[in-house]
Subunit: 693 residues, 2 copies
Amino acid sequence: MWTRRLAAILAAATAVLGTAAHADEGMWTFDNFPRALVAERHGVNIDAAWLERVRLATARLSGCTASFVSADGLLLTNHHCVEGCLAEHSSRERSLNESGLLARERTDEIRCSTQIADVLVDLEDITARVAAATRGLDDRAAKERRRQTLTNLEQSCEDTSSKSRNPLKCEAVTLYGGGQYWLYRYRRYTDVRLVFTPEDAVAAFGGDPDNFQFPRWCLDMALLRAYVAGRPARTPQHLKIDFDGPDDGDTVLVAGHPVSTDRQLTVAELQTLRNDVLPPQLLRAAELRGRYLQFAKTSDAATRIGSDPLDSLENSLKVQRRLLDALLDDEMLAAKRGQEAALRTSVARDPKLSALYGDPWARIEAAQQTEIAMLLPYTYLEDSAGFSSRLFRYARTLVRGAAERPKTNAERLREYRDTALPRIEQNLAGAAPVYPELEQLTLSYSLERMREWLGPDHPVVRRLLATESPDSLAAKLIGGSKLADPAVRLALWNGGQRAVDASDDAMIELARSIDAEARALRKRHEDEVEAPVELASEQIAAARFASLGTSVYPDATFTLRLSVGTVRGWDENGAPVAPFTTLDRLFERATGRPPFAVPERWLAARPRLNLATRVNLASDNDIVGGNSGSPLLNSKGDIVGLIFDGNIHSISGAYWFDDAKNRAVAVDAAYIREALTKVYGATNLVEELSVGH
Amino acid sequence: MWTRRLAAILAAATAVLGTAAHADEGMWTFDNFPRALVAERHGVNIDAAWLERVRLATARLSGCTASFVSADGLLLTNHHCVEGCLAEHSSRERSLNESGLLARERTDEIRCSTQIADVLVDLEDITARVAAATRGLDDRAAKERRRQTLTNLEQSCEDTSSKSRNPLKCEAVTLYGGGQYWLYRYRRYTDVRLVFTPEDAVAAFGGDPDNFQFPRWCLDMALLRAYVAGRPARTPQHLKIDFDGPDDGDTVLVAGHPVSTDRQLTVAELQTLRNDVLPPQLLRAAELRGRYLQFAKTSDAATRIGSDPLDSLENSLKVQRRLLDALLDDEMLAAKRGQEAALRTSVARDPKLSALYGDPWARIEAAQQTEIAMLLPYTYLEDSAGFSSRLFRYARTLVRGAAERPKTNAERLREYRDTALPRIEQNLAGAAPVYPELEQLTLSYSLERMREWLGPDHPVVRRLLATESPDSLAAKLIGGSKLADPAVRLALWNGGQRAVDASDDAMIELARSIDAEARALRKRHEDEVEAPVELASEQIAAARFASLGTSVYPDATFTLRLSVGTVRGWDENGAPVAPFTTLDRLFERATGRPPFAVPERWLAARPRLNLATRVNLASDNDIVGGNSGSPLLNSKGDIVGLIFDGNIHSISGAYWFDDAKNRAVAVDAAYIREALTKVYGATNLVEELSVGH
């Protein structure tokens, strides 16, 4: 399934600039949707009113997308997008993920304490202001000034907005790898509650083996509700669901928030990913998968509490595996090399451009040497791969937050700027249980791998493990920390530097003890890798704009995009794959054992069901992770499906769009109707969604 | 550490032909040692007597090498080469691996039931006979005739020998990827007993983190003894140990049995390894590692019984990881491509050769398409990656053995030819305990991965898992099998087809049920991949011989080789690595926790020890897995060290020899003396080895 984890995987990536679109490739910003081209190709009219209506009805969740589907704040998204909330309300004894949930009364709806929903209400181009601020500076100075400028623009935007009746959140957005800068203004809902999810067994029928596969039979849906001041939000701008679903060949559009793509990386950057980033990441993930799976066998409780992290991990493992496969495709790399050489030659031959930019590709390539040389310590110490632990993440946030907040807003590490603090506080206050046995598993594992990859004689490893094993150290750290308690976290946060300095919490002590080394690595990475790559990428973007203008789309940046496509199967090794699946096959594939077990409730409902109901469908929309939960819209802007995944070929969409095989995968609206009416008897929701009207 | 597992990793590989050696690259056969070149370069005289003496004192173990070091059959090898024997004599309660062993009397020496020691006593070139037999045949017919010819030659060799006083084992050997065929005659010792090993904690000090690293501090040694008719073997042809060890810059030679190299694969074959073989193998290994590590945490007994398979796995994981790194080196691949293009052009331009051979590279490339298309089912069903279980391996052997033995010798699958049967019987009779909890771990894991990679709708997966989970099926299979008992295995083996047909052992039933599919895959692989690749490889070898003769060495094939080199450090990122380590640093690096815990016995002995003793050393001999346990010899042919590993750069030696960084790693003879005399007080062995004489 598509999720936000893609962002972490592609952390090393810096987007540059979109190529000219062919076929229906493209994740378009709403301000630059190729309306004429789409009218010509699809015969549909996506006008300004259409765009505004859909934009205001689409919401960004943590790592996912949702859409408003009633006037009372009801949001449609995926089951897998609410797994964090299900885990928050589960325990060793009881799993909401297993049981599902149906709130028949609004008072039964349960709060997802760290979930938010952001609606993009306004966009402002600030490219010229950023350019003016950084003009003539060298790469490091430009990076620093850029960061300060974006922080200041965000802050003044929020300051202005805070005086209005509906204060908005402001977020600076970098598009085209620095070719454009924008201020996006969001209406933020911080009280989001869970209304409905089916059992995991039907939501994710087929589990990891079926994940990223098609044909598919998943009811990967959930309903949330946004609240304001303790009451359901009023959302007149919502979308209608067409429960008949789409037909083969229909034009369909997807509005959502793709997290990240790397289509404009240089060849040198792609090679770093292929050779140095992905293989060790894959090995770490595969080993951790084995540890979770073996841990799950020790008890039912272990199975229950391990299932959420395992699901996420297996998903990202499959993504990373296919990303590596994509980069091992020498033909693809040769094509990228060809495109790059062409643009590079045109810059070299243009006396003005070459005087202005020199050879930005060579500078990116040079920066890769530093990137590779410092990759392991950076990954383990600054990216915290050596300290896989929720308690450690809290500790890092508290230690750094205390050090950063006394600084002026513009001087801080960017994740601690004022506009980001409310979200940090919400996460620190979040009620998700911390299970010490899972902490022990992940922390001892990550310490062990840090020792393997940095080596037993690395100074930090030596200091931490001079008389301890990874297991014994992890046990001491977890046993010596009270950060599982939100009240303790908030007290340290509110107590600031003095409280953190005085703390003898073992995890705080650990975070403090490695902070100098970790910050030094970050500084070096910013100065010697990020700064030259950012400046060079801006220059490559500018060179591209010079020839292509904005007839191209920017790489995905977890901001709102619209993709157009067609309901369509594909050809797999000479055999056609049909674009729809039907309900009969779900029962035929059931084995009675997870992940192919159909819940009792469904077996009982089977005689009432129309087994010809369309369940899942494929379309050629250009989407990636973050589009999970996106509405699949017909040309009128009504919902005909619910995006939840792509097929296996879609994963290479991180680097290029393969029109022949890349397919988005959605729940058909007809399956949602069949389930809500005939299986769950969800009268209240059927009414609210006007099912069948 | 170097072990036999390299062979499995490189199963997909077919060697072609050695390049001209540069520096001291080369694993030379004893019949073609470049004596003049070595005399010129090193000033040492390796004459026929030297070669014969060393050859007759060197033995091949299962996947390793050893050398005779006394007249009473005493064999020096590595601790990690006897881990299987240690596991055989261990239990949930007691680990010989942990405790080590010192037999003070010969009656205390313990039998390693599946260990053998083979000494190469004679070599015969049969190239002309094989060529005559296959002349004019197409690839499939040639493959079949070649197989029959080699089986028949082996058989008649053993028949002849069996009438003599000292019957020998005969083995057909393919060198230069089919450029030469040989009959090797071995004296086989089937009664091999364990005399001494230190504790795992000093033998493998630093464990997996230090594995394949240098500097290093390991006493990776063991002593075995060959027996004949219940009495120590008489071995007048043994080597003397020079306990002073070598010095920096000394010429040193390594005699041993490197398992496999792939230096002559075509670029197409290397790409198959890089893109299709290694990444999924790595993922499987990494996940299994996580499962073993998590399993080990459940109890002390689990730690004990899991340690042997975990050690092997972590070792092969590190090897595979570095093999992938090597293949991701685009410069190396470009160099290979250049060499290949040169030879290919010279064949294409030679009317006679091109008429004779056509384009063998293109045929190998075409065969890769089939290889890749069938790789997953072949791996899971025929190579048994879907059934990782010792019980299953026994069952496969019994089912196939029963079907094959009634056929004529030449018609059988080659692993069931008459000359191979005694070894199979020895393995079936072997007493190593089978732990059901480990079987459950590996079998359920492999079934789960088979379902993932072949897909839940693959016919075999569907049949096996229609109403079972991988866990429940594994439990039924293991619970329903009695093959853990050697007597049951031997009864089925001796009972032949009728006994196997009548068996209701669950594992036998499984092996029977998938045999048709697995054999069909094997047949297709032999016909469509192996046959064309073998013929094309023979032709490429012939083209190479035409220009280079035997001034080159063949790829490693687990046959006896001699490598020459120099005691020598190297340069790591600008910092020199010295060629020796000393004992003081062992104690400084100890943390008190595995794998950096020094045993109590050693801590007690510390005041008596000379801490300046040289412990391990590096030399630039060209070795790979299978050379473990090899004697490191000075120019006189005396042992000055004991090979046990290579540095991290040595792993790419599978594909090419990097003179600048590839180093062999050995135990210094001085460390052996220090340990035996001052730590273990092994008076009997000190006497037998003439320590200090």
